[in-house]
């Protein structure tokens, strides 16, 4: 065992908390190594110095003061479970407000222009004006005949213009 290895187990050896195998290893090393033996002895003396510090006693009013503080603690009540925590309540309120805002958002974007009375009458009139044509079935059947008309052909020979003076004259 090297000096660096023994250092970790030295405290356990001195406070008698090391197991038997660790103790044996440290003892073997201390027998062979004078510097580690000296260090162990100095640590033992430091250990004794630390014992010189006296312990302090609690003041006479310590217990009474603590009991007073405990008595002043708010007692848990049965309805406390139903009272929401501030953070939770704030989060829920925020979520609710956001939901309402999002639901209302499309309606707000739709532009609803109020129709004036004149505009309304004009639209009604145009609808009534075309109503007779749609109800007259004969007119609709004649519209079919129009589709059978031959469209003017582009191949027709061009008629000579009469008003143009001939070159023979």
């Amino acid at each position: 065992m090297k000096c660096s290895d023994v250092s970790k187990d030295l405290i356990g050896y001195l406070d008698r908390r090391a197991n038997s195998a660790e103790r044996r290893e440290v003892e073997e090393h201390l027998t062979a190594c004078a510097s580690c033996r000296t260090r162990a002895e100095e640590l033992r003396k430091v250990w004794n110095v630390l014992d010189e510090v006296p312990s302090v006693e609690p003041s006479l009013g310590f217990d009474a003061r603590l009991r007073q503080r405990i008595a002043a603690e708010p007692q848990p009540r049965w309805f406390r479970w139903f009272v929401p925590q501030p953070r939770l309540a704030f989060s829920m309120a925020l979520l609710l407000a956001l939901s309402i805002w999002m639901v209302k958002l499309p309606r707000e974007n739709t532009v609803i222009r109020p129709m004036t009375a004149a505009q309304s009458e004009q639209e009604d009139f145009s609808a009534i004006k075309d109503l007779g044509v749609l109800e007259n079935y004969d007119v609709v059947t004649k519209l079919d005949a129009l589709s059978e008309l031959v469209p003017p052909s582009d191949e027709q020979p061009e008629q000579p213009r009469q008003d143009k003076p001939s070159s023979n004259d």
Binding site: N48, V49, F62, L66, I70
Partner: protein
């Protein structure tokens, strides 16, 4: 006992208080080096235990849980106090070290000068312990004065047992260097 407290038995809480208040106050006093602050912090630790009694689960030893709370409370206090001292250090005219030490009555057989020497010696030792890095200080206090096993201390400090052994060795090596002047006398005293 804590399970009885959890079940609503106030008498068990009193028993816990009687059993742990002195070691807890001593641990906190060695951490913050101020008797009044140590008592205030001990009150805070017990209040936290009381408030958390319904949520307590016996996954670890009660002392591990208790001293873990105490360690957090003490380290927070040390950190806050350090900032406060930085703020008032320009105006401070007297050392607050004397005010911080508990009033210890001299032993009847001890002369007043002997008592003063003894008190200076204790203050010096406390000062050396307080000068250790926070984690090392907690480890030494729990190991030396509370006599906790390595597993418990490792859980409180949230480290492995191997890391704790290295931490303790470094801490005791620092103390060996710092307390060397006193260790000679202590060694002589013990040998004679």
């Amino acid at each position: 006992m804590m399970l009885d407290v959890k079940a609503g038995d106030d008498a068990s809480f009193d028993l816990l208080l009687q059993k742990y208040r002195t070691p807890l106050i001593n641990f906190l006093f060695r951490m913050v080096r101020d008797a009044a602050t140590a008592e205030d912090l001990a009150q805070e630790v017990f209040m936290r235990v009381y408030r958390a009694r319904k949520q307590y689960t016996p996954s670890a030893k009660f002392t591990t849980w208790l001293f873990r709370i105490a360690t957090n409370v003490a380290l927070n206090s040390v950190r806050d106090n350090r900032y406060r001292k930085l703020e008032i250090s320009f105006d401070a005219s007297t050392s607050d070290e004397e005010d911080a030490a508990p009033r210890e009555l001299p032993a009847p057989e001890m002369r007043i000068d002997e008592h003063m020497v003894e008190r200076d010696r204790c203050d010096f030792i406390r000062g050396v312990i307080a000068s250790l890095p926070q984690k090392q200080r907690v480890a030494v206090l729990l190991h030396k004065y509370e006599e906790m096993d390595y597993g418990e201390i490792a859980k409180i400090l949230d480290c492995s047992e191997s890391a704790l052994k290295s931490l303790l060795y470094r801490a005791y090596e620092t103390l060996r260097g710092q307390l060397a002047p006193l260790a000679g006398r202590a060694g002589e005293g013990r040998l004679s």
